[in-house]
Symmetry: C2
Subunit: 585 residues, 2 copies
């Protein structure tokens, strides 16, 4: 059996299946989406125009039996938020089902007839194009529920109202095991590109699919066991370890303590209300309210880390899943909001409307700086989501993200790189992550090269977050290994055990090698990661990006960040070294 | 007497006078603003942040006695609309008065205390900083009137509500001889940079000023006479000639006939209502309503072309000055609006709020494409200006210009280059102007290299607008000579006689040489123009612009423009040749 690609053309409503061509045969996940976008999307095309595409790809090991925490789906295209190539991956049900249908990628292309919207149903028998009229204007909670009525237990990929409006902060939702829209390919506005294809949702039913072929079962089996053991051994990923007990929001108090928690539109590195919106606080609420709330929840079948939470409302009923650390920062500290209840409700709004929570919260924060609301006005912030639901002009501003909102309000302190707003780690106080923000092909993004591991979490050694030295090399090393992990379908959190436990790293590499029938050393894995980065950097260059785009915002050079009173001090020369190899190798 | 520069720092409210330093001594007008911005503004700074500046400079011959049509004032800075260097020049009263005070440039820099607004009064005795509280929230009609109560007959430079909001389409107004805000440094949003300095207005009183020194009076006198004679001889610029009789809107029927009139957001090159909004139609209204309306009006003292009009309301009272061709296009054909009355009222709104009419009309057009209004809805379009006056979210969208409005409405047919929307000449049907749009350092701008002269108006020969051949060289030649003219303080319309009448060209060069005491041949003049272009291109490169930014929008390559059914066909290689000399010379 060969992996297939299905090319879905919305101009003539035709789906074409083809074997994965040789040039893409080695890729999965992010490597696959970036390779296809690199080859097929003109770098200077308009992101919402007819020549952009959305590519969806499960990772190498996704859909295999028992590769731990490997259900990620990659979404790729040219981003309307950044203008760069973009890969954003999500948990949820889609990756495994796509892979089990024998599909290595779904390519969405072509232009729909004006105002004609469809949803697609992909099964072992092919692709059905369905009239989406009844789904239009609806949020993802309702979409997921409606589609499960007709297609129970399927994966549902979809966009909320933000994607219908083609707003630059529209994410792509994937339903979680409870059929809630909690998992998002959020960053970079790919939901708008999805919407520009006239697609409201895609149902994936893997019933009767051929499953994933494993070239070397023994090697795979050995690898996945070694990796699973390492995950279960590491303090951050084991059962009742940091992530399992408190979720990613376990970082809130830690990063706040380090003075790197962006607060009130990146004007301070500590927030007096941090403890009230931390993972520990979430766990307390879950315990107190019992009911459907829980921590240690998996975002997709087969996850053994289970860092997700289900936050209950006052009656104990599930309100939203999941409040990540980055969400608690963007809707919380960065808006000066310490009300966990409101943050939970705003998170639900993001999941329903189809917005990236990081960009959404940061957009509110910058509007606060522009005078729309006072920092800390939780009720006022919550009401803003109705503006997007009602498609008001204010909704059209906020739904486009931080840069657009800054322009609308005449604000010049704009914490973005390449048009994407910064996540929950202040680069003036944590220098390595600043290098990642500046240089990753994705725009300001922590997941592209998570130097927080050594700088804050003490994983793979402990580095001083406040020093510049060595951080350029560190970021590149993380970016390369991340590009490999993002291609594998494994959750990025396996990085913690993989970095600290040698057998974990071997297990990751071997499990991939086993599935793909590759002969793969650890060095090969990093080299593959660099190949992905190279395609992405070259795409961006051809789109017009230069080293001047690999910079943090100007104000971080002249405005001191409390409490450490530090500015961004990394030299431009140092930043330019990070990707110099692209033209040297 | 040496020319001075006054540096006005809004951080400490101090004005410092200095002799023009040697490095800038040869410059005037655009050459001066671009040289100062090139030397002093960090190319990657945020346009609204503390490190940007606004530079104001009269041209070389501005303020001299009887240099014909030479009252232009150049405004420079880093543009919030384009992110490029920007020079935008205006008629009105300011240039001559600044020059007569002995000033070669005014530099506005520094950051005001939060929410503190001033107006400045510049006289022979220095600069006064005045509290602007009473002027805030007011439009330019009222500002001009209020300031003339205290400072009669002065030049008033100012910003409307758009500049207060720091919107990217905020222009800088200069009062005309009737003290109306009809003359604008409109393009590129420099009004927002002005506003970011906390300056609402500047009053220029030249009473008792030293006047402009003329190094070689004989040469100057000879030159200005030759130029004046040529202007009075040329069919386009002479008394009762095309521009004098009908204003710039004489182009409406001509360009429409050529199939190059952008209509309904650049979806067609002809507009069935063109005649109704043409210069001829304006002249008819003026004649019929008598009263204060007039054509053949000068925008500044000493203009002998007098292409401006004063459009009367139904009672014959002056309603607005001036309805340019570009205004009649943007608020007219490009919105599908053929109601001259409403166009006049919208023009007045632009002049009052402080908006560039080109960008303002095009923003409405793209919002129409996005579904906000039907094309042709004149009353609906007129009402939109209240949104800006009332600082509503919709006003904040539209006031930012075409790209921001396109993003807010998810539109991908976006007729912009480097973030600035295209003026009144369809580049698919008039190829040379397309080269100018693509390559000028200013973003899509017709005045930077007005190839319309030979392509449409038959000036300096007659070229087929529909052929690509030779248009790259043509555009560069126009861009270089324009940079010289923009530095001189002469109105760009002297280009018509200068191009067609050799003594006119000599007169222009000699008059400049006479004032500046330069030894200047015609070739020297073009070389000076190229020096200006080179500074501007290098600034942009350092700001991160590449050849990928020297492109017309994607849709113009695949969407055929009626009636000629042509696409943009110029190769990228051809475009890249235009400024190759910057790194070769």
């Amino acid at each position: 059996m060969t992996r297939k690609i299905v090319r879905i053309n919305m101009s003539d409503l035709k789906a074409t299946y083809e074997d994965v061509p040789k040039k893409w045969a080695k890729w999965g996940g992010r490597g696959m989406t970036s390779a296809i976008v690199f080859d097929e999307v003109p770098p200077t095309c308009h992101p919402l125009g007819p020549n952009n595409k959305v590519v969806i790809a499960p990772g190498w090991v996704t859909g295999t039996p028992a590769a731990p925490s490997s259900g990620r789906t990659s979404f790729g295209g040219k981003s309307p938020l950044t203008g760069t190539i973009k890969e954003s991956n999500a948990g949820g049900l889609s990756g495994q089902k796509i892979a089990k249908l024998g599909l290595a990628a779904i390519i969405l292309e072509g232009t729909p007839a004006k105002d004609k919207w469809h949803y697609l149903v992909i099964t072992k028998d092919g692709v059905e194009f369905k009239d989406a009229s009844d789904l239009m204007g609806k949020g993802m909670y309702e979409i997921d529920e409606l589609l499960w009525k007709d297609y129970p237990k399927t994966a549902v990929i979809g966009i909320g109202q933000a994607g219908e409006m083609k707003l630059s902060n529209a994410g792509i939702s994937v339903n979680d095991p409870e059929n809630k829209p909690g998992r998002y390919a959020g960053r970079g506005g790919l939901g708008a590109v999805f919407g520009a294809r006239g697609i409201k949702a895609i149902v994936i039913d893997d019933d009767g699919g051929p499953g994933v072929e494993i070239a070397n079962k023994e090697l795979f089996e050995e690898g996945r066991k070694k990796l699973a053991d390492a995950i279960m051994e590491h303090g951050l990923t084991k059962k009742d370890g940091g992530l399992n007990a408190y979720g990613t929001d376990v970082l809130m108090n830690i990063v706040n303590e380090a003075g790197g928690l962006p607060t009130r539109n990146f004007s301070a590195g500590q927030f007096e209300g941090a403890a009230k919106i931390s993972g520990e606080a979430i766990a307390e609420v879950v315990e107190k309210r019992d009911g459907e709330g829980m921590t240690g929840h998996g975002c997709h079948p087969g996850c053994i880390i289970q860092c997700s939470n289900i936050y209950p409302d006052e009656s104990g009923k599930a309100l939203v899943s999941c409040i990540e650390y980055e969400t608690a920062f963007s809707l919380g500290s960065n808006c000066g909001i310490d009300d966990l209840e409101i943050i939970a409700r705003m998170t639900r709004e993001c999941n329903d409307l189809g917005l990236d929570t990081i960009e959404a919260g940061n957009s509110i924060a910058i509007a606060m700086e522009g005078g729309l609301l006072e920092f800390g006005d939780a009720e006022g912030a919550l009401k803003l989501f109705d503006e997007i639901r009602n498609k008001t002009p204010m909704g059209r501003i906020l739904g486009q993200g931080v840069e657009a909102t800054a322009k609308a309000f005449g604000v010049h302190r704009v914490p973005t790189v390449k048009g994407q707003s910064m996540p929950a780690y202040e680069p003036r106080a944590i220098k390595g992550i600043g290098v990642t923000y500046a240089t990753t092909p994705m725009g300001a993004d922590h997941t592209s090269g998570y130097t927080i591991a050594p700088e804050i979490a003490g994983v793979s050694g402990k580095l001083d977050p406040l020093t510049d030295e060595g951080k350029a090399d560190l970021s590149l090393a993380f970016q390369a290994s991340t590009a490999f992990i993002d291609s594998s379908g494994y959750c990025l959190f396996i990085a913690f055990p993989v970095l600290d436990i040698q057998t974990g790293f071997e297990g990751m590499v071997d499990s991939v090698a086993g599935v793909m029938g590759m002969d793969l050393t650890g060095d090969d894995a990093i080299a593959l990661g660099k190949d992905v980065l190279k395609m992405e950097r070259l795409f961006n260059e051809r789109a017009g990006f230069t080293k001047e785009d690999d910079r943090l915002p100007e104000f971080m050079r002249y405005e001191k960040l409390p409490p450490h009173d530090v500015v961004w001090s990394m030299t431009d020369e140092e930043l330019d070294k990070v990707f110099a190899w692209v033209h040297e190798d």
